[in-house]
Symmetry: C2
Subunit: 336 residues, 2 copies
């Protein structure tokens, strides 16, 4: 991961605007949906930014596209390597295909088949590795050394964070257009790239916007990190939210410490209930990792009462043969 | 059904534009989505008009809202009565709640629980009846006589047809905005209100646009009617597409005979496969009745090759505990 000069500062607001321009020809301007029924349940006005409708079925395409498209030609020529629990890998694969350069994805062998298929469909090479962060890092470092490809980290990368921020730029613009700019934003947090981008976009526009993360109880490292003021690592994730098992990186921790009000928690049972509510009322296929935001809101309605709340529905990639309300979510959360 | 003067002419194009203005404060301007993967499968460019994201989860709100909002005050005061296999009933109930007048819905006792719940949630009164068209008509006539409410037929009504047409007006505008106006439109056909509106909107803008219906093999009365040139009635529907069991009315038959190129058929197995494809690639919850359009396209790709094809995804109301790819669709299609 030292195969290139690494700029570890948060992106400036201007870079978020540049990212928006850069990805515009490739990314979907995703719709923002509402539901009177969900508003009644939550006691606030909810604006859902539908990143499950983004290319590749997740917000991850924004950051990956911004990073891949911003590479200099000489950086891009040997391809792009990344590690990913799934959606980011597919996003890098797609962005590389659009730029016609090779993509290599280091992926834990526990990744869902649907995400593996998505990566291969975009023509990327998959390198399997162990599930722990240490195993992923070791495999990534070894492959980088060997191939001398450009590295795009799934979240601890200012270009990726700037890309993820574009969802919030669009969401706030939409709020302005309908006369209801969100005063609070909620996004899931895993490695923290989405929430960091959300925060930088929001506070670049209005520092008074509250930015809140949502995290599974079984993978609460970001919550613990912000509570303690030190980045907590090495915990074993135990959640069915397969997209939320990563830990904050140094850069995302720094950004969230400065910009995030707090991280709310939700149990997998609450998340599955919220996911089903979204399917039923918004008619959207979202994955568990996306539903954790609504679950956290419904568990803490007093924090949102009377507000307009922007919610990032982060993705919709899951196996339709395996719906969590048809099985015991605890018994199936065996992977860590 | 003679409780009011009945205007049995097709609506003029101006009335479609008026409907668009009338429902604008209430209806969702639904997004149009695309999928490279589905385009590859179909061999054409598909633009999906997402009426599953409409209020009430189906296009039906457009027609119901136009009819209810266009009533004179003296017509509206005793409320609105309708018969419906489900989505139209909920749509009338919602429109009446928005206008603050009573709604009465005559509903076959076989209607899915989710649709019954939706109707009651909007404050409407439900009158249960038998499943056959004759039983529905008898119950409707008797209730109309007793209550002297305004009648809004689910499809054989020019105000309803004008409302359904607004989805196509929006879809064609979207096509113009992205430089890809559809040259073919495909919509499901049951009673024919949606397809009639689709056809009148399309041909009001450009008579060269091809308008094609999609119908389950097990409820192929519209196909038989257009083939024979006479309205076929009295068939027993046998399909899991619970929204597509009605028969054409005199008005919709007349419009489709003049404007529809043909009606394509799909088996329930093909429709379930298409439904799953839509869930997986577009990340949208659509009901079987909505997926029949894509199923018909995939079965007849030679008719669409190279075209830009607008597809109306008509609705997304179904029971998430009962997903058709987890059961034998033939064995479960017991209701007629």
């Amino acid at each position: 991961m030292t195969a290139q000069a690494f700029d570890d500062r948060p992106p400036h607001f201007d870079e978020l605007l540049e990212a928006r321009e850069r990805i515009h020809p490739y990314a979907v301007l995703t719709p923002v949906l509402q539901s009177d029924e969900l508003d009644r349940l939550a006691g606030c006005r909810l604006l859902f930014k539908c990143e499950n409708l983004q290319r590749g079925g997740a917000f991850k395409f924004r950051g990956a596209c911004n990073a891949v498209m911003s590479l200099q030609a000489e950086e891009a020529v040997r391809g792009v390597l990344t590690q990913s629990s799934g959606n980011h890998g597919a996003a890098v694969a797609l962005a590389c295909r659009l730029r016609d350069i090779p993509a290599i994805v280091v992926l834990p062998h526990s990744a869902p088949q649907i995400k593996l298929d998505a990566i291969r469909r975009h023509g990327a090479e998959v390198v399997a590795c162990g599930v722990s962060q240490a195993a992923r890092d070791a495999a990534t470092a070894s492959e980088l050394e060997r191939r001398r490809a450009a590295y795009v980290h799934p979240f601890n990368d200012r270009r990726v964070i700037a890309g993820q921020a574009t969802a919030t730029l669009e969401l706030l613009d939409h709020g302005d257009a309908i006369g209801a700019r969100p005063t609070v934003l909620v996004a899931p947090v895993s490695g923290g790239g989405l929430l960091s981008g959300t925060a930088l976009a929001a506070h670049g526009i209005d520092p008074a916007i509250r930015v809140i993360g949502a995290e599974p109880e079984g993978a609460a490292d970001a919550h613990a990190s912000l509570e303690s003021g030190e980045r907590v690592t090495g915990q074993v994730a135990d959640t069915l939210c397969d997209g939320l098992r990563a830990e904050l990186g140094p850069l995302t921790f720094e950004i969230l410490r400065a910009h995030a009000e707090r991280i709310l928690l939700a149990s997998d049972t609450e998340t599955v209930a919220a996911m089903r509510l979204i399917w039923e009322t918004l008619k959207l296929v979202v994955e568990p990792s996306a539903a954790v935001a609504l679950a956290a809101i419904l568990r803490n309605t007093e924090l949102f009462a009377g507000h307009t709340v922007g919610v990032i529905l982060s993705g919709g990639n899951l196996d339709l043969d395996w719906l969590p309300w048809q099985v015991d979510p605890i018994a199936t959360a065996v992977d860590a």
